[in-house]
């Protein structure tokens, strides 16, 4: 049994698996056998909202949570093809030196990951106060693309502008990047904030996210993975699926469910409840993404 079949069975059996994509509908350009080999199934891991440097009652174990998550990822029986961190690697600070110290510590801890293909993205805590300067020093560009086994990945930056905007320049870059793709190409967008108006009264939106979605809409197989809201959430805008990830610091309440977006209090009886990361099992030929949520610590 391969990993894909196992996940399908897990879904039938009630496992924490969410399958996204228009299975069976994708026509990815008439791939031949060689292309099929190059486009074989794979999986990646998404971690998000680590907030390294946070000190507070909502996670008294903040100094060790990231290290435990790294150990859990390293203990996975099959290692992922790559790992992506979708922002808020560090907790914000006004002190530029402290920000850089936190980023350096974060890098040192995640250097222990067995998988060395690791992609980093900024969150507003990393990048909004200096427009991404410290982030770029430590992790490289704040927006970029890469291709993996036939899937086109686009990392969009909607945080370096403190007003939660992608900006016209980056939107033009996105449009130019996608222009060369077949309309049926499998596209995964990685971002920090939701691209749609999930809960504007909690700042859970991207001010010009609608423009990005307008650019993406002509493409038939687009899926978005993001962070920011510290919980698993699934939403469709037209045919585009959006999946937010849990955090590694503290959970937040369901979107708009209460007046203030105060963190869910730490439960000493159930440490790390509501925290975690995910595997995304990808079938490039069908443009489907099976999501398996995993806890910080596996017993």
């Amino acid at each position: 049994m391969d990993r894909r079949n196992f996940l399908s069975l897990a879904a039938v059996g009630g496992g924490a698996v969410f399958v996204s994509g228009l299975s069976g509908c994708a026509n990815l350009g008439g791939m031949d056998k060689a292309a099929n080999a190059a486009n074989a199934n794979f999986y990646f891991v998404q971690l998000s909202d680590i907030h390294w440097g946070y000190k507070g009652p909502d996670n008294p174990d903040a100094a060790v949570t990231l290290g435990k998550a790294v150990a859990t990822v390293n203990a996975l029986a099959d290692q992922p093809d790559f790992i992506v961190f979708t922002g808020d690697l560090t907790h914000t600070t006004d002190d530029g030196l402290e920000r850089r110290r936190r980023m350096a510590e974060f890098k040192r801890i995640v250097a222990a990951l067995k998988v060395k293909d690791v992609r980093f993205m900024p969150g507003e805590h990393d990048a909004s106060l200096d427009r991404g300067a410290a982030f770029m020093e430590h992790f490289g560009p704040t927006h970029y693309t890469f291709d993996h086994r036939g899937v086109h990945f686009v990392a969009l930056d909607n945080v370096s502008d403190p007003g939660a905007k992608i900006g016209d320049e980056q939107l033009a870059w996105l449009e130019a990047d996608l222009a060369r793709l077949d309309k049926a190409a499998p596209i995964v967008v990685l971002t920090h904030r939701p691209l749609f108006d999930l809960a504007p009264k909690w700042d859970w939106a991207t001010r010009d996210g609608a423009k990005a979605l307008q650019i993406l809409t002509p493409f038939q197989n687009v899926t978005v993975f993001y962070g920011h809201i510290h919980q698993e959430h699934h939403h469709m805008t037209g045919h585009i699926a959006h999946h937010s990830s849990k955090s590694l610091i503290f959970p937040l309440p369901a979107p708009g469910s209460q007046e203030k977006r105060t963190p869910v209090p730490w439960d000493a009886a159930m440490p790390y409840r509501g925290l975690g990361f995910r595997e995304v099992d990808t079938d490039p030929r069908k443009a489907t993404y099976a999501i398996t949520e995993l806890p910080v610590v596996r017993t």
Binding site: T92, E124, P200, K201
Partner: protein, 127 residues
Amino acid sequence: MSALSRRSALKRLGIVLASAGTMALVAGSPRAQGQAGRIIEIEARRFRFTPNEIKIKRGEVVTLALRAVDFPHGFNLPDLSIRADLIPGQVVTVRIQAVQPGRFAFLCDNFCGEHHEEMSGTLIVDT
């Protein structure tokens, strides 16, 4: 005073009117167009609006006079489709007339630091 000269006078006083798009609210009442109503001054300072609870009566026209003192904060009242950038040293005015009772959240939507997420308030519209 013509609209142009009034705008110039306000500019000399450091007062900036939010654009028509951001202050057209709730009301939609042509009668409200020429009225400033009660003026409510609001200070935006990391990480708090003062006051952060604004009470108005249903149908009342009020003008919010927003002043940022330490950062280019944002003011966003999404339920009423109002937002404005607050430039330190300038007063941004937003006229509102609420046509329905309720509690409407407003927030700073320009990330301003560690406690940015706590910088919010509530517009309470009573019957």
